[in-house]
Amino acid sequence: MKQPLSLKQRLFWWLLLPLVLTVPVGSLALYSLVRDTTLGWLDQGLGDTALALSNFIRTHDGELIVEISGQTDGALRFDRVDHIYYTVIAPQGQLLSGDALLAKPHFQLSPGEWEFRDVELDGETLRLAALGVACGVVGNVCQVRVAETTTKRATLRRDLLLAVGATMVALSVGLVIAGWLAIQQGLRPLGELSREVERRDLDRLDPLEPPVPAEVRPLIAALNRLFERLRFASGAQQDFLANAAHQLRTPLTALRTEIELALLEPHEDTQEPLLQRLKSSVDRSARLAQQMLSMARSDASSPQEALRVLDLRELASHAAEDWVPRALAAGMDLGFELESAPVMARSFLLREMLENLIHNSVSYAGEGARITVRTRVREGHALLEVEDTGPGIAVVDRERALQRFQRGSQAGGNGSGLGLAIARDIAISHGGTLTLADGAHGQGLRVQLVLPLAKA
């Protein structure tokens, strides 16, 4: 399919078309007008000479005579550029005075009648002005003819052509450039608008409010309505996801409580492992629901809370409240080495990530393990580490452990295989990195989150 012309091209061609049509026609008109006027003035000069000459015709004893002194002749013939010829012809055609050459063309004139024409005489192009003059007997007409060579006229035509041509070319070029600039300038708001629209995603659906010309406002309004609908739809999807995850929690809690009660109440020894397995399945389901929720939230495309300055130390302190009793109950030593480390973060996601990491350690490190949460600033970066003395993850399994729905090959416990993947997603969405390394003394696992330091 042929690509339609761009807006710029369209405007440009439509501006160019009238230019192409009007400039030649206008040039021609201007040229003719100026030429005819100036040539008219030159003809008038010739005519003036002819009129002056007609005053020299006199009647003496019934004879027509024209007396022109040498001085007068010089004055009549004076011109700085062209040769001037003149002649006076009696009614019967005989030469009364001047150049015989001019008498050659035969034509009749009535008294007071003018005739201007270009003539070719003896290989010379001449401009001829002729005037009919009543002379002698009533009804007789003499002719006064004046002619000059056409050097002035040719020069005039050439200069005029050049002047008009150059003016028109300059005008056209000027108009084309001005038109192009005007188009660029006029369409700039559209360019800015499209860049602004380009920057929009599900994360940023606030209405467009660029300063735009009135013509574009309906478009902006339509886009903003579209954004609004999109935001609504995206919000609805988000709410659905959140609700689904939350709704699962109440029945899972009931189930978990029942299992715990069954474990507390007298039961056969053979049922113990079954009940324990049930309990860990329920925990895993609950964790999975929670993690799918946070995974959806950590996806770059989902609407998110705003970034705020947050101290990793505060975050870890809050985690201590919930997790110390749990770790103690699981027979583990959860400790802290906290230094201030401010970052720009979405607190919900970072909290979720830290919970995931601690939960992982509590789940996998095993009874008697030491878990240490560390925050600090190193080399201009904020660091958050969760280190344990558990079995760790073999180097070959580490990359796999960071994939969604993968677990370390020897891992037991009740993780769902999403925790580390989510942690990494969250790290990346905050412009940071998440790496797995050996714990202290080559034992256990150290998960390290490196984030850009917030400007103080």
Partner: protein
């Protein structure tokens, strides 16, 4: 101890109240928030356990009504939501503690116990835990009804911690609560004080757990299987 449990999921209400009763507590159950303020006026309860997601008026509104009639009852909020906003909103509406579903039974019981203890201390000016009793007015303590000798510093630290049973307490919190301590020797002073307290309280079944690099946790053995 008498508890009012507001939970609209029948299965969860059933199992939770059974678990609470297993502690020897009396539990009344309701599925809706509307009658709660009246029930609290008519009967004496020690603790309100309140689910946020209720049919009819929700937990926040119920809590608001309870507080607006001036009831000081300790409230433990249960929620299926984990947003920070919910947590903040819950605590701002007057909840004393907050538990996100699904919770471990042991955690529910421990928190319920700690809440009731803290609120009783507020009214009787007496703190009790296992074999320990502290009379805040008389500034005297007994261990199994035997007078317990405590230095002024030990008294300050122990009463501060007793008011926060079951909660992790940062070392700085203890320091800032104990005014008049020499700042340069504070950390060390706290540690010395804690180790003395630990020795004195151990016989009564009270453990002062150290949270490495953070602070302490006052604990009592909860007679429930570990989660």
């Amino acid at each position: 101890m008498r508890i009012l449990l507001v939970e609209d999921d029948a299965a969860l209400a059933e199992s939770t109240s059974r678990a609470l009763r297993s502690q020897g507590w009396v539990v009344d159950c309701t599925a809706r928030g509307e009658p709660v303020p009246l029930s609290l006026r008519e009967d004496r309860y020690d603790l309100l356990i309140l689910d946020i997601g209720l049919a009819g008026i929700d937990g926040f509104e119920t809590l608001r009504r309870v507080r607006s009639q001036g009831s000081p009852i300790p409230v433990l909020v249960l929620t299926a939501r984990d947003g920070v906003e919910d947590r903040v909103r819950g605590l701002e509406s007057g909840a004393d503690d907050y538990l996100v579903k699904p919770f471990a039974l042991s955690e529910l019981i421990a928190r319920a116990r700690a809440l009731v203890r803290r609120s009783q201390a507020r009214f009787s000016n007496e703190l009790k835990m296992a074999g320990l009793r502290m009379d805040l007015d008389a500034r005297r303590a007994w261990l199994h009804e035997e007078p317990l000798a405590l230095s002024a510093r030990e008294w300050e630290v122990l009463s501060f911690m007793m008011a926060r049973i079951g909660k992790v307490i940062a070392k700085e919190q203890i320091v800032s609560a104990s005014n008049g301590w020499d700042q340069s020797t504070t950390d060390n002073a706290v540690e010395v004080c804690i180790s003395r307290l630990r020795a004195k309280l151990e016989p009564a079944g009270i453990q002062v757990r150290t949270v490495r690099g953070f602070g302490y946790l006052l604990e009592e053995q909860v007679p429930v299987a570990k989660a």
